[in-house]
């Protein structure tokens, strides 16, 4: 049943440009996918490793800026992408080595500091980054000779990358490594006692998370054909974290739903609702009050209750839900 739902969802996404009217919504969909990849990356740490990072926009930005810089120096896209991702993983290693010295709020604040430092460099080192004027690039990559200039083709390329991201996440979650990451979140002391190298597990998780943040950063660069310090600001990191939390940490679907929620409210709803910023905040508050684990687990719980009611009638449902939730 679940597998069918996943296949159906993927089919819908894959064919989106064919049934959505107008390039504007296709572009929105591309943005949702690239932010979903970013959110999935943040989720690796926040959801599965229990490490809340408010500095991931720094890694996102390292990829985007490295890409922009090398591209405008005249190199080809293949070199650019490899260099950008290598730089991001290296940056993630540095972030990890510093951040993992702290736990809880200390970890968060170290990531904030690191993100702010990247932002400060982007703003101040004008000869490198062009400061707040940003860097414009011309031309998207041509994988296998196909042009990505049109919104449709860019969407499909993003979708392919998105699929890869989801697959890698699914593999990660199901793998022993994924289990050990969750172990370090739930029972770090027991893990150490059992002989696991907790620091190393977290470090590798950080690199994995950084890789996908970098991929998202590159997609951002190619989508906008522009990067500026705003992409690296604290608000960008906060938004990514909000996407993950609102959708549901520790789930695969959560970050994707969260990304869709934020992108749609910011870009689409803002056209119809003047006080969309207020609405965005209110949506977050409502989610927390009614579904503190996030939208995806909350809706799943709701769906289960509904399906129990449908299957066995109201009286049975009360018993069933009581058993299920222990309340």
């Amino acid at each position: 049943m679940k597998r069918l739902a996943i296949v159906a969802a993927l089919a819908v996404l894959a064919t989106l440009p064919l049934w959505v009217r107008g390039t504007f919504y296709v572009n929105i969909a591309s943005q949702i996918l690239l932010y979903a990849i970013f959110a999935l990356g943040v989720n690796v740490l926040a959801g599965y490793a229990g490490l809340v990072s408010l500095g991931h926009a720094g890694l996102f930005g390292v990829a985007a800026y490295t890409g922009a810089k090398i591209l405008t120096s005249g190199y080809g896209h293949a070199v650019v992408d490899m260099a950008a991702l290598a730089a991001t993983v290296a940056a993630a290693a540095v972030f990890a080595m510093l951040a993992l010295r702290g736990t809880g709020l200390g970890f968060v604040m170290i990531t904030v500091a690191l993100g702010q430092i990247v932002w400060g460099v982007a703003y101040r080192w004008i000869s490198l980054t062009n400061g707040d004027n940003g860097i414009s690039i011309t031309g998207r990559p041509r994988p296998f000779g196909l042009s990505l200039a049109s919104p449709h083709s860019f969407y499909w390329a993003t979708f392919v990358v998105f699929l890869t991201a989801i697959l890698s996440m699914a593999v990660f979650v199901a793998s022993p490594f994924g289990a050990s990451v969750r172990g370090t979140r739930d029972q770090p002391r027991r893990m150490t006692a059992l002989g696991y190298h907790v620091w190393m597990i977290r470090f590798v998780a950080f690199l994995f998370s950084g890789w996908w943040s970098g991929v998202a950063g590159l997609l951002y660069l190619y989508y906008n054909e522009f990067v500026s310090p705003q992409a690296v600001a604290l608000t960008a990191s906060a938004e990514a974290l909000l996407m993950v939390i609102a959708g549901g940490t520790g789930t695969l679907l959560g970050p994707i739903v969260g990304a869709a929620l934020v992108v749609v409210i910011k870009n689409v709803a803002s056209a119809y609702i003047e006080r969309w910023n207020f609405v965005l905040g209110a949506v977050f508050v409502i989610i927390v009050v009614f579904m503190p684990d996030g939208l995806v687990p909350g809706v799943a719980r709701l769906a289960r209750r509904v399906s129990v009611v449908l299957r066995s009638g109201p009286r049975m449902a009360t018993t069933a839900t009581r058993d299920e939730t222990g309340r």
Binding site: T103, M109, I110, N277, L280, V288, P292
Partner: protein, 286 residues
């Protein structure tokens, strides 16, 4: 020489303002382990409320106290209705406090519009006075005085009253405190309201120096975070010392290392965190 002197005195005055801003955050985080990311909004809301009160003829200090009360009431509602349902759910608390900050910011924009609003320095404290041979704004010196008074008051509250003892017990060991019969949840509400009051009050006190404008909340929150991290959360002494350290870092850092102006606060914080994760006076690992 006089440059350094001026910066030194200003570090103390800035530290005073930062203490008023961050004491509330440190208290809330120390006792309730809630990263209250709405704190910057409390600061800004207090400042905005005072502009309306002052426009209606109230004097500065009354407006400050009443604005703080307004923010405290708001904080109390938030704590009872929302935060109370999320004990220990750190991520949910982050989400909800950030969401609330968006809402507060937008409401302020709607009510007070986007133009910056000036808050007049109270007339008794206008102008400069001579300190160690330098001309220094009277008001800023007054701010440091207020900070010291509040620090002393809070210290007395924590160390010398029953309420304070309960708060300290709650910070050290909440479950044990409950066992002993302390009404921890009521304590939480009181502390949250107190923290919110302090933030709102600080917003008004900072008004004559900073003015009020959209975006003030996002500017002040990182400063509060840096102070609490450096000083150590849950520790009044930590907030106090941390505030002045940040005051010094800010003034001397910006003057001596203009190249690093954007990171002058975060770099030292990073160093402290890496070397001593619980901050200078922190009670628990942050």
């Amino acid at each position: 020489m006089s440059l350094w002197l001026l910066l030194a005195v200003n570090s103390i005055t800035l530290g005073g303002l930062l203490f008023l801003l961050s004491a509330g955050f440190s208290l809330i985080f120390g006792l309730m382990r809630i990263p209250n990311l709405t704190h910057g909004s409390f600061f800004m809301l207090g400042a905005y409320l005072s502009t309306s009160l002052i426009a209606r003829g109230l004097d500065f200090w009354t407006a400050a106290i009443l604005s703080g009360l307004g923010v405290a009431v708001f904080g109390g509602i938030v704590e009872r209705l929302i935060l109370r349902r999320l004990p220990g759910a750190e991520l949910a608390q982050v989400l909800v406090t950030l969401g609330l900050s968006f809402m507060v910011a937008d409401v302020c924009l709607m009510v007070w519009t986007g133009d910056p609003i000036r808050i007049d320095t109270p007339s008794a404290l206008r102008g400069t006075t001579s300190v160690l041979g330098l001309d220094f704004p009277k008001y800023r010196l007054a701010v440091s005085l207020v900070a010291v008074v509040f620090a002393a008051g809070l210290w007395a509250l924590l160390e010398r009253t029953r309420l304070g003892a309960m708060i300290r017990a709650g910070v050290d060991d909440p479950s044990m405190a409950r066992v002993v019969g302390i009404r921890v949840s009521r304590l939480f509400t009181i502390v949250f309201c107190l923290g919110a009051w302090l933030a709102g009050f600080a917003g008004v006190i900072g008004g004559p120096i900073l003015s009020v404008y959209p975006g003030l909340d996002a500017e002040m929150l990182p400063l509060a975070l840096v102070v609490v991290i450096l000083g150590g959360s849950g520790s009044l002494l930590g907030s106090f010392v941390g505030s002045f350290i940040v005051g010094f870092l800010y003034n001397f850092g910006q003057a001596m290392f203009p190249e690093l102006a954007y990171v002058v606060l975060f770099l030292p914080m990073l160093i402290v965190l890496v070397v001593r994760p619980r901050g200078l006076f922190g009670r628990q690992a942050a």
